[in-house]
Amino acid sequence: MRIVACALAALSLAACASVPPVPNARPLNAQQIEALGGTSVAVSENNGGVMKSWFRQDSSAAAASQGLLGVLVGAAIDGIMNYAPSRRARGVANELAEVMPADVLNESLVRAFNSQIASGAPGEGVVVSDVRTVQKLTSPDAVDDALEVATSYLLSEDASTLQVSVTLTYENAAIPYVTPYTFEGAPPKTELTGPLYRNTFTYSSEQLPVPVLTPELRERLIASIRANAVDENGAPPAEGTDAFKSMTKELEEANDDRLTKAEIAIFLAREWTKDNGALLRAEISNAHAFIARYALLDMNRTAIPSLNGVDELVETLPGGRTVRRIGPGTMAGSYVSLPGNVSDFVTYGNAAAIAEVNETRIRNIQEQARAARSTAR
């Protein structure tokens, strides 16, 4: 399966090679900065809240090559393998949503941008004139003449690190984007349209230390696995079901001498929610402050990123946290805020669990939007 995946990756890369890549970041030029001046900030309401990443086993593509039987067997195996991890990730997302509802996230980000209003004065380039929120599920079109802020909050697979990712875009119908890059032949279509300004900002929290496996910890792990497997009525899974097979596999893994990322998450997830989410609040507040501050600085920066650039250390904060501007590659020009002393490898999975309350929120907003559209017709 790995072989096929890698072969496909090589093919995909070959296909991409025909389109000349350019950095994702789109800086403003001096005339545009002067023209923008006081700029409205539109924070896209985050609906997913803090999500919990996990690895979803997916053998659908490989199984498809073995015909219908392969598809059925693959789906059955995937179901067993994914049952417990998905359920546990959802549980963590639910707990995170209890201490940090999506609305609280949005209010915090609005506050962070509001605090930038006083820092800029007219005539000093791009400054924040006002801050509002916009619901993209009901108003998906770009907001004209406003800096749009889209956020994503994701807890790592082992729950040791929270990653806050933000994409900023500014579009203005009166000032179309003109690519600053030169191409052999016509520019790619992606360089002919889209926002005048764009960049991404990523904040990684301090990394929680990984617990050491002790006999007591192993007992807690086993208890947690059994608790995760019970149904709504508290009954353990029936033998032969996906839930039972998944629990059995997890119990076998719990008895070895090493903690997997998923097992570590069982212990570390609690650190984010204890004391009414004090740690979560503190990190999100730091992330929002970083994003609001550097958004404004970057909108007044005219340097055009290059695929062959060099990483730049922009700021070193107390405690060793650093802010860096990515140098090479398509993410050139984007900003990262990273902790000082990382000691273990982190991954963010290929699936993100959303809390039930946030899933319901998204569904309700979509239904209201549909109803509104029907009424308008």
């Binding site: 399966m1 790995r2 072989i3 096929v4 995946a5 890698c6 072969a7 496909l8 990756a9 090589a10 093919l11 995909s12 690895f55 979803r56 086993q57 997916d58 053998s59 659908s60 593509a61 490989a62 498809a64 090559s65 060099v310 990483d311 730049e312 250390l313 070193t316 060793g320 650093t322 860096r324 990273l338 902790p339 000082g340 002393n341 990382v342 000691s343 273990d344 490898f345 982190v346 991954t347 999975g349 290929n350």
Partner: protein, 131 residues
């Protein structure tokens, strides 16, 4: 179609076979198709940014941290260094329809030499075979 798929798979194996070997402690060199190992550059703040990438199949992924420290020691000499390791991640190959597989372990951070005047010795010149 099956033949094409098989051909692609063989191509993938061939490509991977050339790049997943554990390089041990060695510099990266894209010109020689060495994408694993260590690389460093001045960090613009009087120090060095060091990056170590080891392939997924490496026996001990934590060797990436050891390689990072070894390179910092080489750059800074006996007076030692102050360090900030800011990134440690396991990079994954993620494709829809396939279970993600590990690709590499990456460690990155800054080292500031306690003796900024220290100049590391140049690497030994490649041996020239006798004629």
């Amino acid at each position: 179609m099956t033949g094409i798929r098989l051909g692609l798979a063989v191509l993938g194996v061939t490509l991977l076979a050339g790049c997943v070997t554990d390089p041990g402690y060695a510099p990266m060199d894209a010109a020689k198709n060495r994408y694993f190992g260590y690389v460093d550059q001045p960090n613009g703040d009087g120090g060095h940014t060091i990056r170590v990438v080891l392939p997924e199949g490496v026996q001990d992924p934590r060797a990436a941290f050891a390689h990072w420290d070894r390179r910092a020691a080489e750059l800074c000499g006996p007076a030692g260094y102050r360090k900030l390791v800011h990134t440690a991640r396991r990079n994954m190959l993620v494709m829809s329809g396939y279970t993600p597989t590990g690709y590499s372990y990456e460690v990155m951070g800054d080292a500031w030499c306690n003796d900024p005047a220290y100049t590391p010795a140049p690497p030994p010149a490649a041996a020239v075979p006798a004629e």
